[in-house]
Structure formats: C-alpha cells, structure tokens
C-alpha cells in the first residue's frame, strides 16, 4: 500500500527560542491506522518532537486537544484527517494568549466558568438517601451536563474575544443554565443576580458560532436564551 502523505501548515511559537510566531510547513507520512487528526499529529511528533499541543483521552471526552483546524475550532481526536483540505492549517484557539505552539493559556476561560458558581446549592438538611428527581426533570439536564470544557465555543465567540474578562462566554453560561435547570438547586435568584449586568449574559448576540463548533453537539445559544427568559419572567 502506498504511503499516505499529509501536508500541514502549523502555527509555531516557542517563547524560549523564537522571537515571534511563524507558520511551519511540514509533511508527514501516515500509517493506515492513522485516522484522526490527532493520530497524524502524534505521527508528526515522531518527526519533530518540539511540536507542542495538549492531548489525553483521544476519544472526545476529556476536552484537551481543541485547536483551530482549517479555520474552525474542533477537537483533533474527533476530526477525520482525510476529511480535511490540505495543507491542513492548524492554529491555537483564537482569542486566548498563546503559551507555546497550539497550547493556549486557558486561565480566563476557567475564571469565567468558576464565576458562575458551578456547583449545586441546596441548603436543606442533607437527606439520608438520594434527592428525588423525576425522569422528566432529569431530562432537562441533557444537552447541558455533557460539556467537556474544551473551550471550542467560547474561543469562537466574537463577544468573548472582545470582552473575555466581562462576558461569561457560551461554556460558562451553558454551565450556569445546567444548575438553573436542576430541580435540586435552590440558588436560582442568586444565580440570575450574578448574571444581571450589561456584559456577563447580555453580550451574547445569538451569532451561534458556539453551536456551530461544539464537538459534543451542544447548544449554548439555546441555554442562554432560556436564562434570558428566566430573567424576563423574574422581572414581570
């Protein structure tokens, strides 16, 4: 079988060595078992061990290997390498400071996630057994709890690019609604108060880039819409 050769154009920057970022052209021969973009990147590292990116589970559940692939955010481990136009252009997720190569500083992203108090609040005495929740009530959490915090969505969002310190961003707001929608959570008012300002929630202009790029097929825009509804209903 003839070798499959794939050409890349990859954003490279090592602050320890490079004065400024540059795009590296590199070609790599793949083995038949190399199916995903991540497989190709691991193969590429056999050729150039300085190419840096995060990776772990290689099955789309840990959220490590998010990057900008031919102009669109996605996970390398869930992207078929043969589906991509060559040269495959890889850049770090947009809008966050680059640490090295495809590795970005996610501090701001997690700060926003933490800012929505991503934990259940229930001040009643702890019961001996589980708190009851009907299957229908539980179903409300589907499409919300599956988020893997890969940051594909927030870093595809112009509102987040412009105000990463003030706008919570789609990932954080999806998490906010995950707790608002949980019948076991009692902090609804405080959670809405926490989002009631011109930026934190309302900078979302429903551009829907987040929906377009989410590798788990989640819909942050819809969740944000529901939070806005709750705000309105609370006001009247």
């Amino acid at each position: 079988m003839s070798k499959r050769s794939v050409s890349f154009k990859i954003y490279r920057y090592d602050p320890d060595r490079d004065e400024k970022p540059y795009m590296q052209d590199i070609t790599v021969d793949l083995e038949p078992s190399d199916k995903k973009l991540l497989d190709a990147l691991v193969r590429l590292r056999g050729k150039d061990d300085s190419m840096s990116f995060r990776r772990s589970c290689r099955e789309g559940v840990c959220g490590s290997d998010a990057m900008n692939i031919n102009g669109k955010n996605g996970l390398a481990c869930l992207t078929d390498v043969d589906s991509l136009a060559q040269p495959i252009t890889l850049r770090p997720l947009p809008g966050l400071p680059v640490i090295r190569d495809l590795i970005v500083d996610m501090t701001q992203f997690f700060k926003q996630y933490h800012s929505i108090k991503p934990y259940l609040v229930n001040n009643e005495p702890t019961p001996e057994r589980e708190r009851l929740q009907s299957p229908e009530e539980r179903e409300e959490l589907n499409g919300l709890y599956e988020c893997i915090l890969c940051a594909c969505c927030s870093t595809a969002c112009p509102s987040f690019w412009w105000n990463p310190d003030k706008f919570v961003g789609p990932a954080g707001l999806l998490a906010a609604y995950r707790f608002l929608a949980d019948t076991r959570d009692q902090d609804t008012n405080a959670r809405l108060d926490n989002l009631e300002d011109p930026y934190r929630l309302f900078r979302c202009h429903s551009i829907m880039n987040c929906v377009d790029v989410c590798p788990k097929n989640l819909n942050p825009t819809k969740a944000i819409g529901k939070i806005k509804d709750m705000m309105v209903r609370r006001a009247v």
């Binding site: 090592d14 300085s50 559940v61 934990y119 057994r129 539980r138 959490l141």
Partner: protein, 597 residues
C-alpha cells in the same frame, strides 16, 4: 538548576476521581493542601468511565452489600483481601448518595431514584441471577462523576496546581515520606513540595500495552515514583483486558451495552457466550468474556476479512432506548468504528483497560510494606487510592463498576485517614534531607545532556509491542521468559533516551521521556511478576496451568494464594498472604470455590 521549596500540610498527586475525593476531605477539614495534576482536573481519565458505579441501593431489584461482597471476592478469584472488600461494599451506598447530593446528574427511575442497570459479574443471591447494581448517568457516568467532584472542590476552595508533573517521591533515612518533587510544565521549573502527608492518586498505566483503552496520560507516574523510591508494587501481573474495545482504535465500549441487552456474536452470528458462561452469558466477568472472545478468534470464528474481531450487537434494542441510555456509545461507534449501532453491530476486541495491582495499601489508604516481620507496615506519611493503589479489592480480576466505587471509597478513606492523623498530631513536618531533589535533577540533567541516544517514540513502541505479545490475554511460559529478557533490554534502552527539544516551556518531549521512565517500571513489574506466577487465576491465565480436577481453572491455592510484591531494585520478588478474613466478626468469609458463571 534552582529548586524552589513550598510547604503544605499535604500534597495529593493526581486530580481524577480518587484525588478529588480525597481532596474534599482535606479541604473541608481546613488542611493546607496542594493538588498536583498533569492535566486540568476534568481531563483526568476518570472522565472516560462509562457504564456506572456499583452500589447495592436496590432501587430496581432487591440487593444488599453481602451479595456485592460475594460477587467481588468471586470476581477477584479470591485474591482480593476480604476486609477491604467488605469495607468497600458496605460504604458504597454512602459514597454514591454523597455524589448525588453533590449534584451528579444520575439517570432516574420512574419513582425518582437513581437509575441502576445490570453489569458483568454482579448478581443477586450469591450468583443466581443478574442484579441491577450499576448506578449510571447514561453512558457518561465517569464524566458526570468527575465534573461533580471537581465542582464540589471549587466550592471547597481546593488549591490546584494544574499542569504540574510530579517527578519523584522524597523519603528520609527512616523511609518516611516527606513529599514530592514536581515540574511545572509551563516553565519547566522544579519545585519541592515538602509535606506532612503525601497521597498518590495517579491512576493506572494502561499505556504499557499497544492496544489500550487508556488515555495518553495513563503512564503510571505514581507507580514509577514509588518503585524508584524502594516501595514494592503488588500483584502487577493482573491486567484487565476489557472485552469491548473498538477493533483497531482501542476506544472503550462500556459493558453497560451488554447490561442494556447487547449480545456478542461470532462470524456465524452465534451468541457464543452461552457456551462459556451458561448462567450469566454476556454478563459474565470480564476476564471470562475476554478469553472466550480470544478463543473464538484464535479458532477461526472471528469476524471481518481478517477474522480478527467479534461483533457487539444491539440492533435488536429499541432505538429510543439506545439514544437514551447509550448515546455516547453511539457517538463513539460512529466516530471510531464507522458504524451506527442502531443499524449494524460494532466490531470489538479485548483491549487492555485496567491495572488490578498497584502500590500496596490497606483499607485506610495507608501505603503498607513488609518491615520487621509484618508484611503490612504503614509507611509514615504515605497514602494512595484509586487505580494506582492495590487495597486489594480487585484481586486477580475487577468487576465492572467497581473501579469508580474503589476511587470514591478509598479516595475518601485515604482523605479521612490523613485528616485523622493530622488532627491527632501523628503527622509532623520532618526535616528535608539535603539531597531531596537530587534524583529528579539527575534525571533531568541526564536527559538534557544525552547524546547518541534512543528516541522516546521508538523505545516506547518497543515496550508496548513487547508487553502486548508477551503478557496478553493468554500467557505462555516461553513467551513470558522471553518477555522478561526483552523488557530488561528495553529498560536499558530507556536509560539512554534523547530528546531534540530542549525548550523550558511546555516541553512534551521531556514530559514523555519522564513518563516512559514510569511506564518502564510498571512493564518490568508486570512481566517479571507474571513469569513467576505458575498458576492461572483471574486475568492471569497460562497455557501450562490448565483446568484440572486438582486445580480447578488452573488455580493453585496451595502454592499461589498470595500477593506478589515486586521491587524495582534487582527485579526482586516477595510475597505476602491474602487476607481471607472479613473486617467484622459477624461477616462470614467467602469460602474458596471454583469460579463459574
């Protein structure tokens, strides 16, 4: 190199399920704690667990912890310690209910309770029929659990050191543990974490095998650190090959698929498990199912052009049930097998999944080693929990859903023990030896200055291929012996790894070289321990120890009902007795018997 020093009451290495559960105990008790993790906590491999966590809640079928204990002892092929198993099964309801209170989005029964599904090897009334014991959040239980635990830690203000790799364990001349050295990946700087207590929760090392469900990060860092520091590793010959990894890709397909009614079929469409396990069939224990599949393939009844896999069939299940209970599996199957399981069966092969052995501990999470005639003497200041530890609850074969339970119960228990020891004044900050960081600095300097060396990629590949060939689902004396000498050669090569990238910043090449050091310790432990154990038990099955009247299933209790202890120095083996006595006087020991399902 300058080495910074930081002082904490405790350091926890690893922020998967076990590390996060332990961290909660320490944070809520007000201990000054550092949690180190190579990855952001929610990227730890607990996230990939799918099918559920075991607890005898009895929400859908009658159940109790005695039945769970019996299943676990039997599943372990009697190599599990019955005191630890009793402890785990008794504690299961408590730790699972706690998770629900933390906000974990479990699926629900019609009356609002936690949804439970059947799972392999779990039975009611001591083996009579499948029981619904696996508490599940669709087929994303690990993800839901890890996020809930992380979120609870956010509430508890736990202090994380994200993307820090621990390098070596620090011990003084008495052998007491004083903390670890660790490298910050972003800067490459080394810091000493000087502590009163050190908890390892570093997970497994499934990456020693070529075909593995494990993540890239599962490199046995805790085991490598422990082994280099003179701590023995227990029962490392026992590796679980999960029956259903996606053929070619290795990605896990949960046993919950069979719990929901999935059936394994060979090339002629036969439900072959009926021949191997007439009672529990496809829901027999994992070692049994993996061997049955391998036998089918070896005897020419495999599927596909190369007859190299079997099929996992759920096409007879209602599509809406698949969408509701197994949505993640459907995604994985489409992504990695190119098959929509609603329409066609999934090609699967047994794939390395879980390490039953590990750092020897007791049920309190204390690391225990032979000393002064006592085989289980705690090391002062050292604790471990989760897959990196061996309590031992899984013995020679783990039951599905007992791993998430293990990390909850023993993560909490290790945390509680540390808090107790801390509050009672049993822990103190002992003076740091002058050479505390020398071993780590020497490893880094060696790597920095190596010339004419070996590529990390090549040596790692040779290790994985060697382990796959020489210590797989079925084991052969000649292959094991050959494997021991081959791994010794690979280990020599690993001492001369060379990296081209010398950057200080986020240097993956350096990280992978350091990880390889850890994997090599685990691979050596595995092959040496496996070669030495001349019986078949649980996941360790040798062709020269077949099923006989004298030794049912090839198990030789007279000579081999004992735990292996492997020491890195000199590749030395030692053994210690299995605890066949439960913790409580009023609990009857599960008597030795032949394992059938």
């Amino acid at each position: 190199m300058n080495v910074a020093k930081r002082t904490f009451d405790a350091v926890i290495v690893g922020a998967g399920g076990a590390g996060l559960r332990a961290a909660l105990q320490l944070s809520e008790a007000g201990m000054k704690t550092a949690v180190l993790s190579k990855v952001f906590p929610t990227r730890s491999h607990t996230v990939a667990a799918q099918g559920g966590v075991a607890a005898s809640l009895g929400n859908s079928t009658e159940d109790n912890w005695h039945w769970h204990m019996y299943d676990t002892v039997k599943g372990s092929d009697w190599l599990g310690d019955q005191d630890a198993i009793e402890f785990m099964c008794k504690k299961a309801n408590e730790v699972v209910i706690e998770l629900e209170h933390y906000g974990m989005p479990f699926d629900r029964t019609d009356n609002g309770k936690i949804y439970q599904r059947p799972f392999g090897g779990h039975s009611m009334n001591y083996g009579q029929a499948p029981v619904m014991r696996s508490c599940a959040a669709a087929d994303r239980t690990g993800h839901a659990m890890l996020h809930a635990l992380y979120q609870r830690n956010v509430r508890a203000n736990t202090q994380f050191f994200v993307e820090w790799m621990a390098l070596d364990l620090i011990r003084n001349e008495n052998g007491d543990v004083l903390g670890v050295t660790a490298m910050e990946l972003e800067t490459g700087e080394v810091t000493i974490f000087h502590t009163k207590a050190t908890i390892f929760a570093t997970g497994g090392a499934g990456r020693i095998y070529h075909s593995s469900t494990n993540a890239f990060i599962n490199t046995g860092d805790g085991l490598g650190m422990a082994a280099r520091a003179g701590v023995p590793l227990e029962d490392m010959e026992f590796w679980q090959f999960h029956p259903t990894g996606v053929a070619g890709a290795g990605v896990l397909i949960t046993e919950g698929v069979r719990g929901e009614g999935g059936i394994l079929r060979n090339a002629s469409g036969e439900r072959f498990m009926e021949r191997y396990a007439p009672n529990l069939k496809d829901l027999a224990s994992r070692d049994i199912v993996s061997r049955a599949m391998t036998t089918e393939i070896n005897e020419g009844r495999g599927c596909g052009p190369d007859k190299d896999h079997v099929l996992l069939d759920i096409t007879h299940l209602a599509p809406e049930n698949i969408m509701k209970r197994l949505p993640g599996i459907r995604e994985i199957s489409i992504q990695f097998a190119g098959v929509d399981p609603i329409k066609a069966p999934i090609p699967v092969v047994p794939t390395c999944h879980y390490q039953m052995g590990g750092i020897p501990t007791n049920y309190k999470g204390q690391v225990v080693v032979p000393k002064d005639g006592n085989p289980n003497t705690p090391i002062v200041g050292f604790y471990a929990a989760g897959e990196c530890a061996c309590a031992s609850v899984h013995g020679a074969n783990r039951l599905g859903t007992n791993s998430l339970l293990d990390l909850l119960v023993f993560g909490k228990s290790a945390g509680e023990t540390v808090v107790e020891d801390f509050q009672s004044g049993n822990l103190s900050l002992k003076p740091l030896p002058a050479d505390a960081a020398d071993a780590s600095l020497a490893r880094l300097a060696r790597l920095e200055n190596q010339t004419g060396g070996e590529s990390v990629f090549d040596v790692g590949l040779e290790m994985r291929r060697t382990m796959q060939k020489h210590a797989g689902v079925f084991r052969f004396d000649d292959l094991l012996k050959e494997g021991v000498s081959k791994m010794a050669e690979v280990a020599e090569r690993a001492k001369r790894t060379e990296i081209a990238d010398k950057s200080k910043v986020w240097n993956i090449a350096r990280m992978e070289a350091l990880e390889l050091d850890n994997l090599i310790e685990v691979a050596r432990a595995t092959i040496v321990s496996a070669e030495a154990r001349k019986e078949s038990r649980g996941a360790h099955v040798r062709d020269d120890a077949p099923d006989t009247a004298e030794n049912p299933n090839g198990r030789d209790d007279e000579n081999w009902l004992k735990h292996t202890l492997w020491y890195s120095e000199g590749n030395r083996l030692d053994y210690k007795p299995v605890n066949l006595k439960p913790m409580s006087d009023d609990v009857k020991a599960i008597a030795l018997a032949k394992r059938t399902y």
